[in-house]
């Protein structure tokens, strides 16, 4: 913890968990969509999110994050209008997602060209989040550290290929947490790596070129 965790963050109100954290959850979906133009957004809200989302502006915050805004962007207030102007259809569905944190959202985004993404996560207090699912794959990261998500085909040697590149060419990169998830043998799989500091220039692009890697996402810590 440092002084800016106490005097900070600079954020749009009214609630660090219901507003600032919601923007950050939305931003994860923005990253997964990888700049593809968005056609529609459907967001399921569970627990406290379902009950108080209007008063806290959680709806605007999630939508703002999905459109790429940050938790300090003034545009959050007008996110619904901005989305409409961009031709994005949106829908908020209060529901109950059993067994989840009280502030949980399940975000479905559909791109103009049919791309789809689903992100499920919770706002766990103080603007911090925990992401649980991405595109049906179990992940587990908080966004407190810079996080690299490697979407790849489930083939032998992939972890070694990725981590060898990091170890041999980018020696200063230190992995603090590593997780692999694979819903179906031989299908798509996801590595989640929390790293210390930001990845060096070029590393992410080079990782993308590794055989059988489908995509790499970098979720920056705030």
């Amino acid at each position: 913890m440092n002084v800016f965790d106490i005097i900070g963050p600079i954020m749009i109100g009214p609630s660090s968990s219901h507003t600032a954290g919601a923007v950050r959850l939305g931003r994860v979906a923005n990253k997964v969509m990888n700049n593809a133009p968005i056609a529609s957004v459907k967001i399921e809200l569970s627990g406290s999110f379902a009950h108080t989302y209007k008063g806290h502006g959680t709806d605007r915050a999630l939508l703002a994050g999905i459109m790429g805004y940050r938790s300090y962007s003034e545009e959050i207030r007008d996110a619904l209008t901005i989305a409409t102007n961009r031709g994005i259809a949106y829908e908020f569905i209060p529901t109950d997602i059993p067994g989840t944190h009280p502030n949980t959202a399940r975000i479905h985004v559909t791109g103009v060209n049919g791309e789809e993404c689903t992100v499920e996560g919770s706002s766990i207090g103080g603007g911090n989040i925990r992401v649980d699912w991405i595109n049906g794959m179990k992940v587990d990261f908080t966004g407190e550290h810079n996080t690299i998500l490697v979407l790849h085909y489930d083939k032998p040697g992939l972890i070694a290929a990725v981590t060898n590149l990091m170890a041999t060419k980018y020696k200063d990169v230190n992995i603090g947490n590593f997780r692999l998830t694979r819903p179906v043998k031989g299908g798509e799989a996801m590595m989640t790596m929390e790293i210390d500091g930001l990845p060096p220039l070029g590393m992410i692009d080079e990782m993308r070129n590794i055989n059988n890697v489908i995509n790499i996402l970098l979720i920056r810590a705030t």
Binding site: M1, N2, V3, F4, D5, I6, I7, G8, P9, I10, M11, I12, G13, P14, S15, S16, S17, T19, A20, S48, H51, T52, K54, G55, H56, G57, R60, Y72, E74, I76, R77, G125, G126, G127
Partner: protein, 293 residues
């Protein structure tokens, strides 16, 4: 490097290094974050600028919260202060109250604020420090530096107790903010590190047990007005410490006590909106007004 495990550590190191707590913390944070002292200072100055802007935004006559439950408190208080030449509490204090209301109101209307330490308690540090900057002609650098002292006290509080209403009740949010602000005020008025600690101890001691009971679960009722109480407690605690009145209970023990009280509070009084003012007949009616049944 500092560990921020106790305020006693901050006082001892500050005396040993013969530096103000703020200067020592600034240098330590630059080391810990591997940035230059100027970079760290500039970032803090940016936060202070946001606080000043939030005061202006929140004092607008037409300020209304997103839910519609609250609005215009900062304006009303400023107007009253001007019309009555300071009302009961005097010009300086009524203007400070107006600033605390304004920043909290700015937060409730989805304006830009600095969480200090949280969004719910974001009016207390600005209520105190913007007032010293604008009405007591203290230079900006000293004010920004005092935020490092407040922040260091906040880190210790977060580590030994907590700063989230959901975990420790309002004492953890407004109580922590008032304790941090009191320490910053004492340093700005030339008090010793020990007096900073005493002021923080008195402020926390005076808010022990304060529950978090937001009507409709929104950061408005009673949060906005509790920011004013926090400002008053911060100023009175700082003045007591500067007058040489000590806290019989050392500050670290006060903080531990706040953590213990927080754990003992039932869940209904920790940001769940199931108890306190939130569950009064009128509180429930207001909830229905905003969200329906």
């Amino acid at each position: 490097m500092l560990t921020y495990k106790s305020i006693e550590e901050l006082i001892k190191c500050s005396i040993k290094q013969n530096k103000k707590i703020s200067q020592m913390v600034l240098e330590d944070q630059a080391l810990q974050m591997e940035k230059s002292i100027d970079e760290i200072y500039d970032e803090m100055e940016k936060s202070f600028d946001v606080m000043c802007e939030a005061v202006v935004q929140g004092q607008a006559k037409n300020q209304r919260s997103t839910s519609g439950l609250t609005g215009g408190e900062g304006f009303k208080m400023k107007h009253y202060s001007e019309q009555t030449n300071g009302g009961l509490s005097g010009i300086f204090m009524t203007k400070a109250m107006s600033r605390a209301l304004a920043v909290s109101g700015c937060n409730a209307s989805m304006g830009k604020i600095v969480a200090t330490p949280t969004a719910g308690s974001c009016g207390i540090m600005p209520g105190c420090l913007v007032s010293l900057y604008e009405d007591k002609s203290i230079d900006k650098r000293s004010i920004v530096m005092s935020l490092f002292t407040g922040a260091a006290f906040g880190i210790v509080i977060a580590d030994r107790a907590c700063i989230a209403g959901a975990q420790g009740g309002c004492q953890a949010e407004c109580g922590s903010a008032a304790g941090m602000a009191a320490a910053a005020l004492v340093e700005l008025y030339g008090g010793t590190p020990q007096q900073c600690a005493d002021a923080c101890a008195i402020a926390i001691g005076n808010q022990l047990g304060l529950v978090c009971d937001p009507v409709a679960g929104l950061v408005e009722i009673p949060c906005i007005k509790r920011n004013v109480s926090g400002v008053m407690i911060a100023f009175s605690s700082a003045d007591m410490a500067l007058a040489g009145i000590q806290s019989e209970i050392p500050v670290d023990e006060c903080i531990d006590s706040m953590g213990e009280v927080g754990r003992a509070l039932p869940a209904s009084l920790k940001e769940t909106a199931l108890g306190g003012l939130a569950s009064t007949p009128t509180g429930l009616k207001l909830k229905e007004q905003v969200f329906g049944n």
